[in-house]
């Protein structure tokens, strides 16, 4: 692994060496390392690009790393990863993607992730997208995430894209079963002429299901962001959508949350706010000794933390 690849791996998966436990590292369209454990089996697909990850029931305190690195310019790929998480398992899945493009051809990665969580399983899913390189070729990521939660299952999804991705079209669909719960946190920072669109559809299908979407974004320079978070209550359920955006420079942000109730017992709430950094926030931090630039950075880091 060269320095560029090592850096991308550190950025998207906090990995500085080959991880312990189960992992699959994909680099420039090919597998660069794979390891299964007794409880977590990673099997390559035979009909298309991608892997199946089978996590045995009752697997506890284990993690799976599946980072994707694109360091060559001009690679365009769609990868299908299917996760089957057994009953009562409790695991962490880390799935970052980093693109380094210093050429003039577009590099594009589309990850199609499908999660099936068994009864009472719990997954913490961390997905970081990152781009770098000074070539004229665009860095493009179009992730598609599908989640199916069985009775009592729960999933924490922490998805972030901080700088570097020129174009992204995110699509997330989640079906929540009886007494199941999902908390999705999405954090996005765009700059330059970048464009980001994110669509999240959560279907509260089960009795006593619940979901939260917390979206925080910062739009800088001439970038454009569009959010469509939608919560549908099909049963006795609770859903909350909260979208907060900080707008800077000439950025344009559209935040279009929707809530749909198809059951009299569905309780759904949405909140959305877009605004610039408040002047008194900057002034307060400046009275503590920060420069205006440092104060702005501190506010943005906290907001996107």
């Amino acid at each position: 692994m060269n320095e560029i690849e090592k850096n991308l791996l550190a950025e998207v998966a906090d990995l500085h060496e080959i991880p312990e436990g189960a992992y699959n590292i994909r680099m420039d369209g090919k597998s660069a390392g794979r390891n299964s454990t007794a409880e977590i089996q990673i099997i390559p697909k035979t009909d298309k690009d991608g892997i199946e990850i089978h996590i045995a029931p009752n697997t506890k305190k284990q993690s799976v790393h599946i980072p994707v690195i694109l360091a060559e310019s001009g690679i365009e790929e769609t990868v299908y990863n299917d996760f089957y998480v057994g009953e009562n398992a409790d695991v962490v899945i880390i799935a970052g993607c980093g693109i380094h493009n210093c050429g003039n051809q577009d590099s594009s990665h589309s990850g199609v992730h499908t999660f099936h969580l068994g009864r009472n399983a719990h997954v913490k899913y961390v997905e970081k997208h990152y781009g770098e390189g000074d070539g004229s070729g665009a860095r493009v990521m179009n992730p598609q995430t599908n989640v199916y939660l069985d009775e009592g299952a729960s999933m924490e999804m922490d998805m972030s894209q901080i700088r570097g991705i020129d174009s992204t079209n995110r699509n997330t669909q989640i079906h929540v079963g009886d007494k199941a719960e999902v908390v999705l946190t999405e954090r996005l920072l765009t700059h330059g002429k970048q464009n980001a669109e994110s669509r999240v559809d959560i279907f509260l299908d089960g009795e006593d299901s619940s979901a939260r979407i917390l979206s925080r974004s910062v739009g800088q320079d001439d970038s454009v962001q569009t959010f469509f978070p939608c919560m549908t209550g099909n049963a006795k359920s609770f859903g909350h959508v909260q979208c907060d955006s900080i707008i800077m420079g000439n950025a344009r942000i559209s935040s279009i949350p929707a809530i749909r109730a198809n059951s009299v017992d569905a309780q759904l709430v949405h909140e959305a706010a877009i605004g610039k950094i408040a002047g008194d926030q900057l002034l307060k931090l400046m009275t503590l000794g920060l420069t205006e630039e440092e104060a702005e950075e501190h506010i943005l880091n906290g907001f996107l933390k």
Partner: protein, 241 residues
């Protein structure tokens, strides 16, 4: 020493200039504990903001230990040791109490140092350290965190703008103890804008500011009876009637 000379601040209103500060003169010796009081709209907060650099005066001078502050940035004044506690502090989404106090101290604080700061403003560290300074906190809680950020800097000049506003009686008692400790330690110059008799009575000197000027100055024993005996709030028209 803080030396304020002929400090002026005016704003354009209906095509003419209205004076908010109309020639404030004030000398404050090092490590004094002064309380500024006076009727609403008299210029107290504007005076404090001029010292911190949040408002640019239209004339006059503010000299702190031989350095002219007028024209200097807020950041540079903060680095020089001037701190100001906002009357209405801002809130921050995503920034925790611990983060804010770390910025305020300008260094990483130990757990016991952070706990100590929060205790001094009547907050239990266990309940607040990792909470965000956002709208989930009440006005009184945010105000006490604001005061803690001023204390965290260990600055030689600390200005508090109505620290009692919005704070419950129990927490206020704890705050007055903290201000008493600050006064007794005698290692910083303290300016407090306040209307509270308990704070006023602690002062080395009370400065009365009204109508953009210093209208009185003296010991609490001298000034407090004047304040409590004045029911017309310096209004000459009301005095006549």
């Amino acid at each position: 020493m803080l030396k304020i000379q002929n400090l002026q601040y005016s704003v354009a209103q209906d095509g003419k200039q209205t004076g908010i500060l109309r020639g404030i003169d004030l000398n404050v010796e090092d490590n004094q504990f002064l309380v500024i009081t006076g009727p609403n709209g008299g210029g107290k907060t504007t005076l404090a903001k001029c010292i911190m650099g949040l408002v640019q005066p239209t004339g006059g001078s503010i000299n702190w230990n031989g350095t002219e502050l007028c024209g200097m940035s807020i950041t540079d004044r903060a680095k020089l040791g001037v701190r100001y506690g906002f009357q209405q502090p801002p809130r921050f989404k995503g920034i925790t109490v611990r983060d804010l106090l770390t910025v305020a101290a300008g260094k990483k604080l130990s757990h016991s140092e952070v706990c100590g700061l929060l205790t001094r403003v009547g907050l239990c560290a266990k309940d607040y350290l990792d909470r965000e300074v956002d709208t989930s906190l009440s006005g009184g809680e945010v105000k006490r965190i604001e005061i803690a950020t001023v204390l965290a800097g260990n600055a030689p000049l600390m200005i508090f703008d109505e620290p009692e506003a919005g704070i419950d009686l129990w927490s206020f008692s704890r705050l007055t103890e903290t201000f008493g400790e600050l006064r007794d330690q005698r290692n910083a110059t303290i300016l407090i804008i306040s209307h509270q008799e308990r704070i006023l009575s602690m002062a080395d000197k009370i400065i009365m500011v009204s109508d953009g000027k210093v209208s009185g100055m003296g010991d609490p024993q001298e000034i407090l009876p004047q304040i409590t005996g004045d029911t017309v709030c310096f209004c000459k028209a009301m005095e006549k009637s």
